[in-house]
């Protein structure tokens, strides 16, 4: 079965990147169609694209793997999440003096337009969160129709270094030869997937413990109070453990097995057996030493989170609560450590049931949650327009019923053969480009599959050539 209306999104995590395709039902429910994971290796650092070529290669692979699961449909464009180092919120206020007028939709639109025109120095505005309106310095949730002499809209702009957006939009588009439908601020998307309206109203912060960064998204009175990306992630715990002389893989295992975010004294002086970096010997490490390493780093992360809560002025807010997400939140006693330090209720994240139709299991796997959140934010259809087959020339709308398409190769041929609709030309050529790439690869593979006989024959030929050449030179 092929799909013709879906949203595709890529979450660029520092340890894994996830590609996901889903579709939104009429009531806004999301159903997940397919998802794929690639190891980020070193292409993503602190949530930002570090090596664009490597990252692009991985995205292309992800898309190809997803397409394999789409029963013949092609992906024409993707949404990419941004949530790396340098992303944060800044305040920006726009105001109008209305004299003794009334606030109209028009006034609000004007304010919005003015806000969007604002360009801070050296920073790129990635998104604008819904503002809080102040009528004559009094906050007002629904200002339309009210009278006042001065209206002020206080915005939270989500800003980052310009490269943060470019790396996933124009530059990435060039590399993956695919349109990028948009860059979505992933911590915001994640907060909308996980936090309920009541929580946002009461005051709640979502903390996403990633491998490369930890993002803190804070809400108060129903709107965004602040967003910060702390450039420290749970992978640093692994790195710190490596300083005890174990290789990365072993450090990761030790972190997962023995890691503890709370310092616990160990009277028995327990020893833990670990494999050493040489891969041959194992050694004994004190559990208390592991505890010390892990606790110090997680405390550092926790303190940094607290500093952001303080900056935003929510640290002492009564009833303020914390929701934790991401793989890093799984560290033993992380929830307890946060609760103890912040003196707040801390719960583990789970996706809002009113947003996901099925596949809740997948959505609640911390590895995939952000990708799900991005899907929910996507609005444009990401399916590549495929020209109708000659037998059925009627179907030309962008939205049409799913239909059976047996093989990609077949469609590919058809698309190339058929005269194509103008609007789809660009995307189709993009697909072609990608396809020619695959063909080359196939050829390479063929070349590589020489038998021994071939090699021998080749060698003899080359020798013959050499002798001929030598003879010629002598002459």
């Amino acid at each position: 079965m092929a799909y013709t209306d879906f949203i595709a999104a890529i979450d660029l995590g520092s340890s894994h990147m996830v590609g996901m395709v889903g579709t939104k039902g009429p009531s806004g429910f999301l159903s997940i169609i397919a998802y794929e994971v690639e190891n980020s290796d070193t292409s993503i650092r602190r949530g930002c694209v570090y090596n664009i070529k490597d990252a692009a290669g991985k995205i292309v692979r992800l898309i190809r793997k997803l397409e394999n699961k789409l029963g013949g449909s092609r992906i024409g464009k993707v949404y990419i999440g941004v949530g790396g180092q340098s992303l944060r919120s800044v305040n920006h206020a726009v105001s109008r003096v209305l004299g003794s007028g009334t606030v109209t939709e028009e006034v609000l639109k004007e304010l919005d337009r003015e806000c969007r025109q604002y360009r801070p120095d050296m920073l790129d505005v990635l998104d604008v969160a819904t503002p809080v309106y102040y009528l004559d310095n009094q906050p007002e949730a629904h200002p339309v129709g009210l009278g006042c002499s001065r209206i002020e809209a206080r915005y939270k702009l989500l800003v980052g270094r310009p490269s943060l957006r470019h790396a996933v939009t124009t530059n990435m588009s060039e590399q993956i030869k695919l349109d990028v439908a948009g860059a979505i601020v992933s911590p915001l998307a994640l907060a909308d997937l996980i936090l309920t309206e009541q929580e946002k109203q009461k005051g709640c912060a979502l903390i996403d413990f990633g491998a490369g960064v930890t993002s803190v998204t804070m809400y108060k009175d129903g709107s965004l109070a602040g967003l910060y990306v702390i450039p420290l992630g749970s992978h640093l715990i692994t790195r710190d453990l490596m300083s005890l002389g174990m290789p990365e893989k072993e450090a990761e295992r030790v972190k997962r097995t023995y890691g503890n975010a709370i310092w616990e004294k160990d009277n028995e002086q327990q020893m833990v057996s670990v494999d050493l970096a040489d891969g041959q010997h194992s050694s004994e490490v004190k559990l208390s030493e592991i505890n010390m390493v892990v606790e110090a780093r997680s405390r550092e992360i926790i303190e940094n989170i607290y500093a952001r809560l303080e900056d935003t002025g929510v640290a002492k807010e009564p009833g303020y609560s914390i929701v934790i997400a991401g793989n890093g939140a799984a560290l033993k006693n992380m929830r307890e450590a946060l609760s103890e330090r912040f003196k707040m209720d801390v719960r583990y994240a789970s996706v809002r049931k009113d947003l996901i139709a099925d596949g809740e299991m997948i959505a609640n796997n911390p590895e995939y949650t952000t990708a799900v959140a991005l899907l929910l934010k996507g609005t444009e259809n990401c399916a590549l327009y495929i020209a109708p087959e000659p037998e059925k020339p009627k179907v030309v709308e962008t939205r049409f019923e799913p239909k059976e398409e047996p093989l990609i190769a077949e469609i590919e041929e058809k698309t190339e053969e058929q005269p194509v609709e103008k609007q789809a030309v660009a995307s189709a050529t993009a697909a072609k480009n990608r396809n020619s790439g695959t063909k080359k690869e196939d050829e390479k593979k063929k070349n590589k599959s020489w038998g021994l006989g071939d090699l021998f024959k080749n060698a003899v030929d080359k020798m013959g050539e050499g002798i001929d050449k030598a003879l010629k030179d002598e002459q």
């Binding site: 180092q85 270094r161 450039p231 420290l232 310092w263 780093r297 940094n304």
Partner: protein, 447 residues
């Protein structure tokens, strides 16, 4: 200044063979306590660099040491100053001891200036005079902080080198007395010192039924390294057995069985005329004695103490105990000198070693009590540092548990003044321990 200091006055000193010397504030308090309680046939002396503290005490014999070094104003928590003060007053200390004293208790609280610094010197003078010298020291509470603990343990090490026998009393034990207010806990610490000194003095001075005399104590304690003293009480059925187990539980050793590895042992059992030691109770004594693996004869005695009523009391004195555990070869070596410190690599190594060493001591004495998490220099980013690549890389590359405040200060400063960054720079911590303000001035760079 000279007008209001009290010189040691020989005429006032009664002719006794035991002298209890309190050095510094903690030692002084303990000795004042003992003086008030009044132990027979023992004379008391206070030694301090702080004239004010000396004036406060009721103990008549006082010796202000280091008049030129400290001007009678105390040592300001610097052991080196305490040491210098004692060296300056060596003659006076010698004279004070040269009155027929055959056994001296040097009591001091470790972790401050005078006790930590001057205590070992007083002990050395005494020991060099051939007096049986017993050091009784307290080491601080865990909450008093690592620097103080380390300072204290260094003092203990020095003390151990200069006495015949050393008793270490870990204040942290007092924590077991639940929610005691801090001043009361401090008094309790002084009290512990008092009990320790008093118990030994008692063994020598009390005339027992089966006596343990000075010669016995001398044999037990002379050049015996680390000693432990422990007291237990028992009442009713199996009271002696109770008393013995209580005494064993009250020791500072983490593993009670260790006590039986002690080289020399002496113990005394006290009872009242009301309820004397019975033959049936001798089995308990026999069982207890047979557990010791020492080659020396276990010296023991028993006698009356009518304040006990129906209770029975046992005072156990073990020496030569775990000396190698407490003072290993490597600990005898001095820490790296400042010259060496200047070579960055060696400095790093030395610092690491020193820390490990310190950890070892701390664990030895506090093993069970330390539940505070280790210190780590945490970097909390300011908002504008969240995108500071240099700082972030540093924070990433240097594991939190290994980081020092200096490292952080340096990298943050780097951001402000890029010119300063060439070459290694670090603060000369050894030269001025915490005297100068942290910011500015303390960074010395070497190219």
């Amino acid at each position: 200044m000279d007008d209001n200091t009290y010189d040691f006055d020989m005429a006032k000193a009664p002719q006794t063979i035991i002298k209890v010397i309190g050095v510094g504030g903690g030692g002084g308090n303990a000795v004042s306590n003992m003086y008030r309680e009044g132990i027979r046939d023992v004379s008391f002396v206070l030694c301090n660099t702080d004239n004010q503290a000396l004036q406060k005490s009721e103990v008549p014999d006082k010796l202000l040491i280091g008049r030129n070094t400290t001007n009678g104003l105390g040592s300001g928590n610097v052991p080196e100053r305490g040491e210098a003060a004692a060296i300056e007053s060596e003659k006076e200390i010698h004279d004070m001891l040269d009155d027929g004293t055959r056994m001296a208790f040097v009591t001091a609280g470790m972790g401050g200036g005078t006790g930590t610094g001057a205590g070992p010197i007083v002990a050395k003078i005494s020991k060099d005079m051939g007096i049986l010298t017993v050091g009784i020291v307290t080491i601080p509470f865990v909450f008093e902080g690592r620097p103080k603990i380390v300072k204290a343990l260094k003092g203990v090490r020095k003390m151990a080198q200069n006495v015949d026998s050393l008793l270490v009393i870990n204040n942290e034990r007092l924590r077991n007395f639940a929610d005691m207010p801090v001043p009361q806990a401090n008094r309790k610490a002084d009290e512990t010192l008092t009990i320790a000194a008093k118990s030994i003095a008692e063994i020598v001075t009390t005339n027992l039924e089966q006596n343990v005399d000075f010669a016995d104590v001398d044999t037990t304690m002379r050049n015996s390294g680390v000693a432990l003293i422990s007291i237990g009480f028992g009442e009713g059925e199996g009271r002696l057995h109770q008393a013995i187990s209580e005494a064993l539980e009250n020791t500072l050793v983490n593993d009670v069985n260790n006590i039986f590895n002690a080289q020399r042992v002496a113990f005394v059992i006290y009872y009242s005329h009301e309820d004397e030691l019975r033959i049936s109770e001798m089995t308990d004594i026999h069982n207890f004695m047979s557990q010791f693996k020492t080659e020396y004869e276990v010296k023991w005695g028993h006698g009356y103490d009518d304040s006990l009523g129906h209770k029975i009391k046992i005072t156990i004195l073990v020496t030569g105990f775990g000396l190698e555990d407490i003072l290993s070869q490597s600990e005898q070596q001095e820490l790296a000198t400042e010259e060496e410190i200047r070579q960055a690599a060696e400095r790093e190594e030395a610092a690491r070693k020193a820390r490990e060493e310190e950890d070892k001591w701390v664990r030895q004495y506090y093993g069970d009590y330390i539940d505070s998490r280790p210190n780590a220099e945490i970097v909390v980013f300011a908002v504008d540092e969240l995108d500071d690549d240099a700082l972030i890389s540093f924070v990433e590359d240097k594991p939190t548990y290994k980081r020092t405040a200096k490292d952080v200060q340096q990298i943050r400063r780097k951001g402000e003044e890029p010119v300063r960054t060439q070459g290694l720079s670090f603060t000369s911590s050894a030269a001025n321990p915490g005297k100068k303000p942290k910011s500015g001035g303390t960074v010395i760079s070497f190219r």
